[in-house]
Amino acid sequence: MSDRTIDRVAQATPVRAARKIRGLSDRAIAWIFISPTIFLLLAINIFPLIWTIKLSFTNFKANRIGREIKDVGFRNYERILTDSDTWLNMQATAHFLFWTIFFQVLIGFALAWLINKKFRGNDLWTTIIVLPMMLSPAVVGNFWKFLYQPQIGLFNYIIAWFTGKDPSSFEMLGSVQLAPWSIVIVDTWMWTPFVMLICLAGLRSIPDYIYEAAEVDRASKLRQFFTITIPMVLPFLMLAVLFRGIENFKMFDLVVQLTGGGPGSTTELTSINLKREAFEKWRTGYASAYAIILFVTVFGLASIYVKALNRVKQR
C-alpha cells in the first residue's frame, strides 16, 4: 500500500500542512461517511432486536398499556417449543421451502441451460421471463386468488380444459390438500426467473476452452454436462438457493394474500402465525419469543449453509 504515489506524497507533507491541504483526515472522513448508516441500522434493526429479546421474557401485551408487566423467564420459549401448533407451522414452512426450491432450481436451471444455447432473440425473452419476480408479491398474490377461483378462475379453467375435470370440482385455495400446493405454484411462477438468472451467470462464466479441451479428449456431451457444466454452476446454484431459502423462510406477503394461512392452518407459515400472535391476539411477549426463535433458526441455518457453500467454492 505504501508505495502508492498518493501515500508517498502524504508522508512527505508535514501533518499540519497536510490537514490544511486535504481538509479532514481519511480516518475522520471514513467515520463521518459510515456512522450515519451504522446509526440508522442500530436504530431500525439492532435496537428493536434487543427490545424484542427483552420483551420475549415478559407477558407484555401491546394493546394494554396500563397492565403490569411481569417477568416470566423462559416460559414463553417453553410454551412455543412444546406447542404442537408450532411444529405444524414449521412443517408447513418446510413443505413450502422444500418444494419451492426444488421446482425453482429444476425449472430455473433448465431455462438457463436452454437460454445459454444462444438462440436468436434470447435476450428479449429472458427479459420477459424475468418480469414476474420484480412485481409486488402482495398485489400479484391477490390477483392469483382471482385466477384460482373455482368456477370463474382462469387457472381452474385451464386445468379443467387439459384434464377434463369440472372446473368447479376443485378449489385450489379452499382445499386442505391443494392449498399448500397453490402457494408453491405462485411462488415458483414468481421466483423461478431469479434462479434462472443466477444459473445463467454461472453458465456464462464457464470458458469455452474447457469444453474444447473435453471435445479433444472425446468426452461425450452427457459426460461434459456432468463433469463440467454441473460442478461449475454449482456454487452459483447454491447461492441462488441461499437467497431463496432466506426469502421464503420470511415469506409473508404472497401467502397472506393468497390463503391468509388457511384453510384451517394448512398454509400457516411461521411468519403468518407470528403476525397472528403479535397483531391479532396481541400476545406481544409470546410473539417476541417466537420472533427470536425464528431469527436464530434462519441465522443458524444460513451460517451452516454458507460454510458448505464456501467449501464448494474452494474445490
Binding site: 498518493i6 491541504i21 481538509g23 479532514l24 481519511d26 472522513i29 461517511f33 459510515i34 450515519p36 451504522i38 440508522l40 441500522l41 431500525i44 439492532i46 435496537f47 428493536p48 432486536l49 424484542t52 425449472i107 436452454l114 437460454i115 444455447k117 438462440f119 436468436r120 432473440g121 434470447n122 429472458t126 420477459i128 421471463i129 420484480m134 412485481l135 409486488s136 402482495a138 398485489v139 400479484v140 391477490n142 390477483f143 382471482f146 385466477l147 370463474i152 382462469l154 379453467y157 411462477w189 438468472l197 443466477i198 451467470a201 471435445e215 447461492l239 432466506i246 423462510f249 409473508f252 403476525k275 403479535a278 397483531f279 406481544t284 417466537y290 420472533a291 425464528l294 431469527f295 434462519v298
Partner: protein, 312 residues
C-alpha cells in the same frame, strides 16, 4: 458463423431451445396479461364462465378505481343528466359519482415513501460504500456482514418493536416513519451494491485529483460520483422497487395517512365482494412502472438481486 466451433450449439438445438424458452415465457405472461385484460372488463365479463378472452372493453374498472359512487333514485338521475363519460359509465348501475376514491392518495403515498426512502438510502449508502471501498476501516468485514445480516430478520419479527417504538415517538402511520423504516431496510442493499460499483472505479483517478490539490471530499464528489453515476442510478432503482413493492411493514404499521398502495389494492370492494376489474386496474397502474424499470435495468438485474454477489 464462418469457422466451425465445437462449443457453438447446432441450429437444431437452438430451435428446440428457443421453442421451449418462448413457450415458458408465454405461459408465464398469462397471469400478467390477464390482469391487464381484466382491468378493461365489465364486472359481469370479469366473472363470466367460461373466462372471456374477447369482450367489449370498458373503462368501468378504472372509473370504479378512482371514484366513490352511491346508488340514487330514478328521479334524481333524471333530474341530473351525466356530466361526462365517467358519469355515463356509472349511470348504467343507477349510480352517481360522489367523489374521488382513496386510490390516488394511496398511490401518492407509495410515490412519496418510495422516492423519499430511495433518496435517503442512496445518500447514506453512497457515503458508506465509498468509505468501505477506499479507506482502511477497522473491522470492515464484520461491519459489512452486520449490514447484510440485518436483512435476515423476518419483517413481521422486526415489526413488533418498531410498532412500539413508532408509537412512543409519534411516528406511527406517518410518511417520515415509513421513509426511515424503508431506508433502514434498503441501506444494506445500497451499501453492498454501491461498494461493488465504486470498487470498479480505478483509484488512480482520485489520486491524480488529490495530487492536483483537490481535498478528499472534492475528489469524492467531483471525480468518484460522476464515475459511479450508472451504478448509483441502478442501485436507486432497486431500492425504489423494494420500497414500492413492500407489503408486510405497510400493512402492519400504517392504516390511514401513510398507507401505501399494496395493502390498499386488495381491499377494493365493489358490489358483492371484491371489484375485480377495479382491483386489476389498480394492479395495472401499480405494476407498469416496475415493468418499465425492470426492462431498463436488465443489464444490472442480476447484480441487484444478489446484493452484488454475482456480476456479469
Amino acid at each position: 458463423m464462418s469457422s466451425f466451433s465445437v462449443t457453438e450449439p447446432s441450429n437444431r438445438s437452438k430451435w428446440i431451445a428457443g421453442f421451449l424458452v418462448i413457450s415458458y415465457a408465454l405461459i408465464t405472461m398469462i397471469p400478467l396479461v390477464w390482469i391487464l385484460l381484466t382491468g378493461f372488463k365489465s364486472p359481469a365479463d370479469a366473472i363470466s364462465y367460461p373466462p372471456k378472452v374477447v369482450f367489449d372493453p370498458t373503462l368501468e374498472g378504472y372509473v370504479n378505481l378512482f371514484t366513490t359512487r352511491t346508488r340514487q333514485t330514478q328521479e334524481f338521475l333524471n333530474a341530473n343528466p351525466p356530466q361526462n363519460w365517467a358519469d355515463e359509465i356509472v349511470r348504467q348501475y343507477d349510480m352517481v359519482i360522489v367523489g374521488p376514491s382513496k386510490f390516488g392518495e394511496r398511490f401518492m403515498n407509495s410515490v412519496i415513501i418510495g422516492f423519499g426512502s430511495t433518496f435517503l438510502s442512496i445518500f447514506l449508502g453512497t457515503l458508506a460504500a465509498y468509505a468501505f471501498s477506499r479507506f482502511k476501516v477497522p473491522l470492515k468485514d464484520d461491519l459489512l456482514f452486520f449490514i447484510l445480516s440485518t436483512r435476515m430478520m423476518p419483517p413481521v419479527a422486526v415489526a413488533i418493536p418498531i410498532f412500539l417504538m413508532f408509537r412512543n415517538l409519534g411516528l406511527s402511520d406517518t410518511h417520515l416513519g415509513m421513509i426511515l423504516l424503508y431506508t433502514g431496510v434498503n441501506i444494506s442493499l445500497a451499501v453492498w451494491l454501491l461498494k461493488g460499483f465504486i470498487d470498479e472505479i480505478p483509484r488512480e483517478y482520485e489520486e491524480a485529483a488529490l495530487i492536483d490539490g483537490y481535498t478528499r471530499f472534492q475528489a469524492f464528489y467531483k471525480v468518484v460520483l460522476p464515475q459511479a453515476a450508472t451504478g448509483i442510478a441502478s442501485t436507486a432503482i432497486f431500492c425504489l422497487i423494494f420500497a414500492w413493492n413492500e407489503y408486510a411493514f405497510a400493512v402492519l404499521l400504517t392504516s390511514a395517512t401513510a398507507q401505501t398502495a399494496p395493502p390498499f389494492i386488495p381491499t377494493i370492494i365493489g358490489v358483492g365482494g371484491l371489484d375485480w376489474p377495479a382491483v386489476a386496474a389498480g394492479a395495472t397502474i401499480f405494476l407498469i412502472p416496475v415493468m418499465i424499470f425492470t426492462i431498463l435495468m436488465r443489464k444490472h438485474l442480476l447484480r441487484g438481486i444478489t446484493f452484488g454477489a454475482v456480476r456479469k
